[in-house]
Structures are given as structure tokens and as C-alpha cells.
Amino acid sequence: MQAFLDIFDIYLLEAVINGILLGGVLALLALGLNLIFGVIDVTWICYAELVMIGMYAMYFMVQYYGLSYFIAAPFTILLVALLGALLHYLVIAPLLTAPPINQLLATGGVLFVLQSFATVAFGIDFRNLGIRLPVLAFGDMNFSYARLLSFLAALVGMVAVYLFMTRTFTGTAIRAISQDRQIMALMGVDTKRMYIITSALGGGLAGLAACLLVLQYDVHPFVGLSFGPITFLICVLGGLGNFIGGFIAAFVFAEIISLGGLFSDLEWGYVLAFAFFIVMMFIRPAGLLARRR
């Protein structure tokens, strides 16, 4: 009995830590989506598909052109940032004053365009970087090096965004603009430019997430489906547009998935996470951190 408990505790601790590591990347994804929603008031349904394109970019640069991972990564971030700006310019900007459902449908359309484009262009094969990162053994616990790296990089990315948002005037304007677009323009701010910058930033975060996820997952045209929905749930649970709420919700979800997976299969972890989400929507419909009315 005692021996069983010892082993159980070790596994539990391992699962908790793995949950934290998973939470880092989920928090990064949620931050990108929240940024777009919080500032532009638009939901990019196709956010995870931008990540998918970024993963393909990593795959081709590393596997096909033989670039090193650390050289390919900045290019990927830049590429997806451009893609984000382009998405805003071509799809969102003309619909900025349209009803939200139109914006939602338009970005939903982009989701299918990107998925279909990837299917036609790259085929439906599962591809991977061919990089096998070692597993770190820490006492009796095992951690994937890829997860640890992702967690740290996601953390650095989030801190960089935080500093940008609080220490620069551009970031200050971006934080405030959603409250009153008209006044922002009358303070001399070119609001169109702010939106392009925000979209590029959101895209850049998707690009960074792509660089990290490609270490752990195979790329295929529908890979976005494996983390797109959960990113949305995290954002909604944290309160759409609420950066801190999204950050906390990411770790709550990651722990539920990780601990749920410990007791049974990983899929049950997801079932628990979604069930938790449904219950929370009844208890706190406006998000974890929402003030009670």
C-alpha cells in the first residue's frame, strides 16, 4: 500500500508539472486570440489555422531547405505576423462596422480556405520535423524536453508582449483603443495602423506557437482542430479579451487535461475539461474573473 502511494504521488506531481508546461503554450495561444478580440473586437475563428500554416512553414524550412530550427523560427514568426496583418487588411477591415456574425462567418470562411489550401498544396500526410528531443529524467519523473522548451519560450513571448503593452506608447494605445476608437483618432492616433500592428502581433504570437507546437505534434491540414477549439474555450472561460483571465484559464484547463489523463486516457482529460467548461458557463457566464453583477 505504501509503495503504491509513493508511486502515485510521483505520477501526480509529474502530471501537475506537465499540466503547467502544457498551460504555457495554451496561454500563448489564448493571449494572441484575446489580443485580437480585446483590441479589434473581432474573433479570428481561423486563429489555429494560422498556427497550422506556421507549422508547415517550419516543416518546409527545416526539412526541405535544411535550415536550422533556430534560424527558421524567426522567419516563421515574421511570416505568420504578415499573414495576420494581411488577414486584417483583406478580411476584417472591410467588415469592421459589420454585424459581429458577418465577421465571424468571414473568418470562419478563411478557416476553410486555409485548411483546403493546405490540403491541396501539401497533401494530407502527417509530417514532422524529424527532430527528436530527449526526455529529461528528474528523479523518477520524466519530462519532455520539447514541452519544457515550449513552456519557457511561451513565457518569454508573453513577457515580451506584456512589456510592449505597458512600456511603449503604441502598446498603451493598443490597450486603450477598444474603449473608444473615435477619441483615439482625435488624440492623433491612426487607428487603422493600430489595428494592423495588433493583427501582426496576434499573428506573430500564432507564429511563435507554431514554432513550439511543431516540436510536439505532426503537421497536417487539420492540426488546427486539435488546439483551436480549446483555445476558444480558454478565452471564453477567462472572459473574452481579458488577458489575465485567459492566462489563468489556460493553466486551469491544462491541469484538468493533464490530471484527467493521469487517472484514465488523455481523451478523458479533454472530456473532463469540456465538461468543466460547460458547468462554468452556467456558474460564471462572463468568465472566471468577471465581477458578479
Binding site: 482625435l186 488624440m187 492623433g188 487607428t191
Partner: protein, 255 residues
């Protein structure tokens, strides 16, 4: 400095502003009065670029600015305050003003922006403390913040929109004095839109009166206040104020 001619704004079949022309000279304070819905705010919106005019011309310092985007007009030197203060509540007082300084001056310099913010806050009498929150401000404080934001953009012309609504008597006098001080010390030309005639009449150099989108009177405060068309417009709605203002203006003119 500002030359407006034949300004028209139509909303569907409704003419909110109908063929209004006026000019503002360097260093002047022009009062713009009129009942609700007379087109004052529409004129301000066109001057600041929030609404494009249907037709007409707005020459500012010799350049046509009608229809330019708001941020371009601000960068040319037209600042604006709002009737209802609209501060960014997520930002501190200082951030609100410094942001206006950063983008409004068109130079995008952090040092210049922070200097402008400190000067503007000191001018209107708000704390220059960087962490003070907007939530601590009352009605008068929020009006001052509006003014500081506009001043931080280093305007040559200030559009002050009904600066005194919601203030008590003493605060009103203070605010009117503030506008005069801004003109005298900073050399900023001002157009002041107001419901309340009394205080305005004491400070402005000239007044223009609008009714139903048309200019019905323009001139020295004393002359405008005794103009029968103006009295007719204000009778019934605001007669007492008008008469008080007229008496006040006559008293001043008689000196």
C-alpha cells in the same frame, strides 16, 4: 487662421448644417452658441474630421482640411475637447495625456510627449503624478483632463465643446478663466461651444449663433445678445439666461 465657407452637412434629407461660413483670427476666442440640435456639434465634428462635410471648404492656415482623417487634422494643430468627457479608464491620468502628446504632435517622441503631458497637466491644475487614476476625478476634474489631453497635442486652434456642462457656478467661472488663460499664455486660438450664454459672453471676443443649422447672428457679445433673432431663438428655452447675458453684455459694453 481658420476660414470656413459654404459648409453643408446633410444626413439623408435633413440639413444639419446649411451653408455656414465664418472665420477665426489668430489669438481670438470665438463663441459658438445655439439651442440643442442647432448644428454646433456637427460643425465641430467636421472641423475635427470625425464627419466629412457634404460640401464646403475648411481652410486651416491656408490649407484645405475638409474631409481629412481626424489624426491628420490633429497633427496639423486642431485640438478638441468633448462635451461628455471620454477618458481612457484603463489608463492613468498621465498616460491619457501623454498618449495624446505622443501621437497628437505628430513627432512620436517619448521625451516630448512626457514634457507636453506635464505642461498640460500643470496648466489645467491636475496632479502630474504618474500613477494617479482617472477614477478619482469628479466632473470638474474630468473636464480638466479633457482640456489637458487637447493641450498636449500642441494645438494652434482649440475646439472646446460645451466645457461647462455639469459644473457649479464657481467651477464654471474657473473653467472660463482657464480658457482665457490658455489663449493669453499659450497663444492658442479657441472656438468655444456652449449652451450657457452667461459665462461665455464674458470671455469671448466674438459670438456666432446657430439655429436649425444656419448662422443667424454673429458679432460682439453685446450686439449679439440684443439681436432680436437671437432672443427669439432663446426665448422659451433659455430666456432667463439670455436676458441675464444680454444685461451683462450691455453692462460691459457701457463701461
Amino acid at each position: 487662421m481658420l476660414e470656413v465657407s459654404g459648409l453643408v452637412k446633410r444626413f439623408g434629407g435633413f440639413k444639419a448644417v446649411n451653408n455656414v461660413s465664418f472665420r477665426v483670427d489668430q489669438g481670438e476666442i470665438l463663441g459658438l452658441i445655439g439651442p440643442n440640435g442647432s448644428g454646433k456639434s456637427t460643425i465641430f465634428n467636421m472641423l475635427s474630421g470625425t464627419l466629412p462635410p457634404t460640401s464646403g471648404s475648411i481652410l486651416f492656415a491656408g490649407h484645405e482640411i475638409a474631409g481629412l482623417a481626424p489624426h491628420r487634422i490633429i497633427n496639423r494643430g486642431i485640438g478638441r475637447t468633448f462635451q461628455i468627457p471620454r477618458p481612457f479608464r484603463k489608463l492613468t491620468i498621465f498616460e491619457n495625456v501623454a498618449l495624446a502628446g505622443f501621437y497628437g504632435q505628430g513627432r512620436h517622441s517619448r521625451v516630448k510627449a512626457e514634457e507636453a503631458a506635464e505642461r498640460a497637466l500643470a496648466m489645467v491644475g491636475l496632479p502630474t503624478d504618474r500613477h494617479a487614476s482617472v477614477d478619482g476625478l469628479g466632473a470638474a476634474g474630468l473636464k480638466k483632463l479633457e482640456l489637458a489631453k487637447a493641450l498636449a497635442t500642441a494645438p494652434k486652434l482649440l475646439l472646446a465643446d460645451e466645457s461647462l456642462g455639469g459644473l457649479d457656478e464657481a467651477e464654471m467661472d474657473q473653467a472660463a478663466e482657464m480658457l482665457r488663460k490658455i489663449r493669453d499664455e499659450l497663444g492658442i486660438t479657441i472656438i468655444w461651444v456652449e449652451h450657457i450664454m452667461g459665462v461665455l459672453m464674458r470671455v469671448v471676443d466674438r459670438v456666432m449663433v446657430l439655429d436649425h443649422g444656419e448662422k443667424i447672428s454673429e458679432g460682439l457679445p453685446s450686439a449679439v445678445a440684443s439681436d432680436p433673432r437671437v432672443i427669439e431663438v432663446y426665448l422659451g428655452t433659455d430666456a432667463e439666461t439670455t436676458q441675464a447675458a444680454a444685461a451683462e453684455a450691455r453692462r460691459r459694453a457701457g463701461v
